[in-house]
């Protein structure tokens, strides 16, 4: 479904991503891990359409991926994903209102139908009891559940998650993993999830991409960019490989901090 051909990303002299190529089939759940600042979020932005490749191409069904966000590709950010001025239910209903009317306001029976649909979806993500609250009254985990419900109501083919659970407690994070896996299976989504938590990558989804630099020039640390150094099927690979990745990323992180 998605074809990534020799994609490069540069900001001036800084190479962020170098020569990334991959093919993704419909229904895959890909977890992107890597050191912070390695370009995995930039890569996700290219898939989303808010950023573009300096060189190379990303094809969706054989056509260049649209350079603007659209309803085919849902997204959940780490924060600010929901609208603070709408209550929980309205936050989900608004997607249908955007879709169905010119100005973005539904009335009467159409509005009622959209509200019922949204309420059903909120039930699935476990927010049924919070329908009339505003996002600022919710906990971080609830807000992310809301963001997921909002992203799913229009049934996008692709769901992009940019460190969606980075700010959550470990316990809540586990619940959220369950939820995402569940929804992914049910809605037959293609999911890309960026995370800096390797463990999350090890047991979520079907495929793990590790972003890292293949070449490092100590004199010019930005001369080379990151590419996909490991492309592994999740659940099939050996524990040793995971430890190895863990090791290599950990040393890189330490080196950065020094």
């Amino acid at each position: 479904m998605i074809e990534i051909n020799n994609v490069w990303k540069r900001f001036g002299d800084n190479v962020i991503l170098e020569n990334i190529s991959a093919t993704v089939k419909e229904g895959e759940f890909i977890t992107l891990v890597g050191a912070s600042g390695c370009g995995k979020s930039t890569f996700l932005k290219m898939l989303l359409g808010t950023d573009s490749a300096s060189q190379g191409s990303i094809l969706l069904d054989g056509k260049p991926i649209p350079s603007e966000p659209d309803a085919e590709r849902g997204v959940v950010f780490q924060q600010y994903s929901v609208f603070p001025h709408l209550n929980v239910l309205e936050n989900v209903v608004i997607a249908r209102e955007f879709e169905k009317t010119k100005l973005g306001f539904l009335w009467g029976a159409a509005k009622k139908a959209a509200r019922e649909e949204a309420a059903a979806l909120l039930d699935v993500v476990g927010l049924a009891h919070m329908k009339n609250r505003y996002p600022d009254e919710l906990s971080g985990g609830m807000r992310q559940r809301l963001a997921i419900a909002q992203a799913l109501i229009l049934k996008p083919r692709i769901l992009l998650l940019d460190e969606p659970f980075g700010a959550l407690d470990p316990g809540i994070r586990a619940d959220m993993h369950e939820l995402v896996l569940d929804l992914w299976r049910k809605h037959k989504l293609t999911v890309f999830m960026v995370t800096h938590d390797l463990k999350e990558g090890f047991h979520l989804g079907t495929r793990l991409w590790v972003f890292d630099k293949r070449r490092v020039d100590a004199q010019a640390p930005n001369a080379y960019g990151a590419s996909i150094t490991y492309d592994l099927p999740v659940g099939v690979c050996e524990q040793e490989i995971l430890d190895e990745i863990d090791e290599s990323l950990a040393t890189k992180n330490q080196a950065e901090q020094v």
Partner: protein, 274 residues
């Protein structure tokens, strides 16, 4: 003994402490006024509260001998009408310019620098221009308030628009929204409480413009009256008028704050958090 920065007075004490400075000021005034009046009953500088009451009684509850109007209410009405009209125009234009330059990069590129320059023009210096162009009637006074306040509101709203997290705009697009829908459903609702904040902040300068315009050319209005009676050293009128203007400003500010709280409950929560 707690550190001073950690010492918070109990509620009852807080009310008392809040009233204390007012009481002190009033007491100082009364004693000073009494002292001067004891020496010279004709003294006009520090009138007693009875004298001020008489003056207001005359202006507010007895028809004027010349025109038959109740001057106090007439003045209040005229001034509030000018202020209200000016602020409504300023708020609408400010919202429009601020929103458009904040939301659309194309308009930002062409109008944001202009807005910055225009907001630096001292509005009071434009007053003669307004008098020449619009004459000495109502229009020039309303125009002064509108011209003085619009750039402030526009710049504030522009800044607030740019402060709305980019993520929300991207999210709306992934929900299929077009530019118009994003402006109507995402930006404007979030900017309305901020517009009220901007109006509250700019009301001080709006009063300033109003009183200045009325002082220079007018036949009624609160500003007109205080500048008129200055010729007779009528402190017994000026002081109550100033107090009345302050009270009006306070009431307007309070009403706007309440409106914001009831119409945009989510905004108050956000404010509380940050």
């Amino acid at each position: 003994m707690k550190r001073l920065i950690n010492f918070t007075p109990a509620r009852i004490w807080r009310i008392g402490l809040a009233l204390l400075p007012f009481a002190v000021i009033i007491l100082i005034y009364i004693s000073a006024s009494d002292a001067r009046l004891a020496e010279n009953p004709q003294d006009k500088l520090l009138p007693s509260f009875t004298q001020m009451g008489d003056a207001i009684q005359r202006l507010a509850f007895e028809p004027s001998k010349r025109s038959g109007d109740y001057l106090f209410w007439q003045d209040t009405l005229s001034s509030l009408r000018r202020l209200g009209l000016g602020m409504v125009i300023a708020a609408s234009l400010g919202m429009l310019f601020g929103l458009m330059t904040g939301a659309l990069p194309v308009l930002n590129a062409s109008f944001a620098p202009l807005l910055t320059v225009v907001s630096l023009v001292p509005p009071m210096a434009l007053l003669p221009v307004l008098f020449i162009v619009f004459g000495l009637g109502e229009v020039s006074k309303v125009a002064l308030i509108a011209i003085g306040v619009t750039p402030f509101i526009a710049r504030d709203i522009q800044k607030r628009t740019l402060e709305i997290p980019r993520e929300q705009l991207v999210k709306a697009q992934t929900l299929g929204a077009n530019s118009g829908q994003i402006i109507l459903r995402v930006l404007i609702p979030q900017l309305l409480p901020r517009l009220i904040d901007a109006v509250r902040l700019s009301l001080g300068s709006a009063w300033l413009f109003l009183i200045a315009a009325e002082a220079i050319a007018s036949t009624d209005g609160l500003g007109y009256r205080v500048f008129l009676v200055r010729r007779y050293l009528s402190m017994d009128v000026i002081l109550p008028y100033v107090a009345w203007i302050t009270l009006l400003a306070f009431i307007i500010d309070y009403l706007l704050a309440q409106l914001s709280r009831f119409a945009f409950p989510w905004h108050a929560q956000q404010e509380g958090k940050s």
